[in-house]
């Protein structure tokens, strides 16, 4: 599992690649720290994310909670069918803003 953060078109974009499962979540939590102090909208790019577990969702939630009080948007894009299913089972599809 790798996480890369880049600035693109005035946004912070996080590229997730691999499986964000229970075992990988500790490292990913460290990798996304820069997003928690962001002053720009955030895009979570999931095109290369194969899998997400509840611990991965909790990391997304953390990003969302940090962005809200600062009036920033958190967008998600590129989810596969399995990840969309996890989002809909847990109500995350109502929390996140989708982008095509």
């Amino acid at each position: 599992m790798t996480t890369t953060i880049k600035e693109q078109n005035g946004e912070l974009v996080a590229f997730f690649e691999g499986s964000l499962d229970t075992a990988a979540s500790l490292q990913t939590e460290k990798d996304i720290q820069p997003l928690l102090t962001a002053d720009k909208n955030i895009l979570l790019n999931c095109e290369k994310l194969e899998y997400i577990s509840s611990s991965g969702l909790r990391i997304f939630l953390q990003i969302l909670k940090a962005a809200k009080p600062r009036g920033l948007h958190v967008f998600v894009t590129g989810m596969n069918k399995d990840i969309l299913k996890v989002f809909s089972l847990t109500g995350f599809n109502n929390l996140l803003e989708f982008r095509d």
Binding site: S53, S54, L57, R58, L89, T90
Partner: protein
Amino acid sequence: MITVTNLSKTFLDPDNCRVDTLNGVTFHLSKGEVVGVIGPSGAGKSILLRCMAGLEHPTGEEIKVTPGMRIGMVFQHLNLFSHLTVLENVTLAPIKLLGMGRQEAEELAMSMLRRVGMSEHARRMPSTLSGGQQQRAAIARTLAMKPDVLLMDEPTSSLDPTMVDEVQGVVSSLAQEGMTMVIVTHEMRFANAVCNRIFFMHEGCVLEEGAPEQIFENPRMPQTRAFVQRIRCLEFNISSGDFDFYDMRSQIKQFCIRCSIAEKMGEVTHVVDEMFALISDFRNPIHIEVNHSDLKQETTVTVLQYGAEVSALDNPDADELAVMIIRGMSKSSKTEHTPEGVKTIFEI
């Protein structure tokens, strides 16, 4: 059509030791029968087919074949001639071996390609086709020799899982058309759906034969039972947090492919992964089992928490997100209390 009596095949290894690969195989194959041959690696399945196809000479008794009958064989590995088009591959044998004219051979080839849904690709080179398309072309090529019996050695096992269905579809339509076939396969669900007789091979013998229901659900011989169950059960023992979770995931993936339930791979993985997250304390060992019954089309995940009284799923402090995912990914769950601990059983 074919009567095999007491068939044996012995090889001499480099040290001149005898290797008995077939040991007194006896059966009769009638017209229209579709036989599935299953059994562990090295049991002699391929050798049996090769002997029936005349590619190996039996050491023991003869194989009696109705005079004039043709036997065709399709191999596991793709074996089209790469420098010929699909059509040329299919017409080659009718022209060279049956002495057909080109025109007649091409008409025959096109009708065989149509039968396997490959007519639109007739002019393509094999390397431009997917594995499934190549294997269907190989079947058409064998059909062009107008075989009375078709032998297939694991026709789908070298294919990507996404291509297995198209090839199995062709094989089942051939079965419906009344083609007599002997198919070596590891795909139990496919064997159950298409075959009307199953041979279980073990150490060079057909140890047990019968209808698919008998072999898969009520095998008589302990070796058959062990084989059928091994295919259907995957087990892990976890006694520390250092457990290799990546290896387990890849084993779950392989297992789902083997059982032809690739579509359930995600659900099984999520349930196991989230149960892991809920348990998190591995001072007491955990036993996980994934089971699949082909005939009932039932997949279950069983998590045994040794020494525990309450399932991690029913713990009042259990993480809500993990529980939601587990509930959503499984059809149902129940807990059982055993002397060893608590078992949580999920139907997937």
